[in-house]
């Protein structure tokens, strides 16, 4: 299966920044209580709060908000953090469109029937090339449709 994903930096920063601050406060308290507050090592020790905070933030980000889309020629799976947000088979869908949300972010929408029930693939949160991926999906839907209408012809091709 191929994978689409992207590190969403603003979300990672928003998760990490409180922990960077808390780590800096903790290190500073430890420095003061150890009598190292006037030491030249102080700045170096305080800077350790960045990797520490980022590591905690990254763990939370990966568990809760990191989006991954796994797909092959038959099916797709959308994961958000550790959760399986949605999955489906291309053959169950009839139409695909590019949809913009209120912030202008472009995602893919798969329709089971024109204007009916749909599933969204959050492409804006991955490194996918929008139009190319849409064309790929459209091809999958057309092939699935052709398979349903004429299974022998598709097998022959």
């Amino acid at each position: 299966m191929e994978k689409l994903s992207k590190l969403q930096l603003p979300i990672l920063v928003s998760y990490s920044s409180p922990f960077v601050l808390l780590s800096a406060l903790g290190i500073n308290t430890w420095l003061v209580s150890s009598g190292l507050s006037a030491s030249p090592l102080r700045l170096i020790l305080l800077s350790a709060s960045f990797p520490l905070g980022l590591a905690i933030g990254r763990t939370i980000y990966l568990r809760r908000s990191h989006v991954e889309i796994l797909f092959d020629n038959d099916a797709f799976y959308v994961f958000k953090g550790k959760r399986d947000k949605s999955h489906g088979q291309w053959k169950n869908y009839k139409m695909v469109s590019i949809i913009l949300d209120q912030f202008g972010r472009a995602d893919l929408r798969l329709y089971k029937s024109p204007g009916g029930e749909h599933t969204d693939l959050p492409l804006s949160k991955t490194n996918a090339r929008l139009q190319e991926f849409r064309d790929y999906v459209q091809k999958r839907l057309l092939l699935a449709k052709a398979e349903v209408s004429s299974p022998q012809a598709v097998e022959a091709s």
């Binding site: 469109s97 590019i98 913009l100 472009a106 139009q131």
Partner: protein
């Protein structure tokens, strides 16, 4: 075949521009569908949206208080597919677009027809005389750079507000679009 590829690549660029908000001064297009069938015609690109922008806070309030909220759409088709572009095909495209206006309760539709080679004079005359306010028509050649639009407000907005004029000009000079 090569010229058809040029038209298809121009439609891709045209769509990319619209996704990036090129039409925003006239309409907020929010959904883009390729190979969309209306009656007998398969349109290469169908984009739908509203005249009222979404925006955030102040711009949303401004849009809500000032702008009308109409459903609108854009249809774009590679007219060169399936042989020479005739007046019959032109009439059938406008009829299909108008039927779509009525079927989906749209306020108006942009209809963009892309061709290769010189534009047929009968088609140019038809487009320039076209007056129905629900349909803005533009026909353009990706090889000669010639563009013709209907004289109604919706039609005249196509080259400028949708960025079609610049794209056609670049394509006709052989530049990558």
């Amino acid at each position: 075949m090569v010229q058809n590829t040029a038209v298809e690549s121009l439609i891709d660029s045209f769509e990319r521009g619209l996704i990036n908000g090129r039409a925003r001064w006239v309409a907020d297009l929010s959904e883009f569908i390729r190979r969309f069938r209306i009656r007998e015609t398969t349109f290469d690109l169908y984009a739908k949206g509203r005249t009222r922008n979404r925006g955030m806070l102040i711009s949303r309030f401004f849009a809500w208080s000032v702008l009308p909220d109409y459903n609108v759409a854009l249809l774009c088709v590679n007219g060169g597919r399936g042989g020479a572009f005739s007046m019959d095909r032109m009439r059938s495209l406008t009829a299909d677009a108008l039927s779509f206006v009525e079927r989906d309760g749209l306020q108006w539709v942009w209809l963009v027809i892309l061709l290769t080679g010189p534009l047929p004079s009968a088609v140019v005359a038809f487009v320039e005389r076209y007056e129905r306010k629900e349909l803005g028509v533009a026909v353009a050649s990706v090889t000669t750079g010639q563009t013709s639009t209907s004289s109604n407000k919706i039609g005249t907005s196509i080259p400028g507000h949708l960025g079609l004029g610049k794209l056609i000009e670049r394509a006709s000079h052989g530049e990558a679009v």
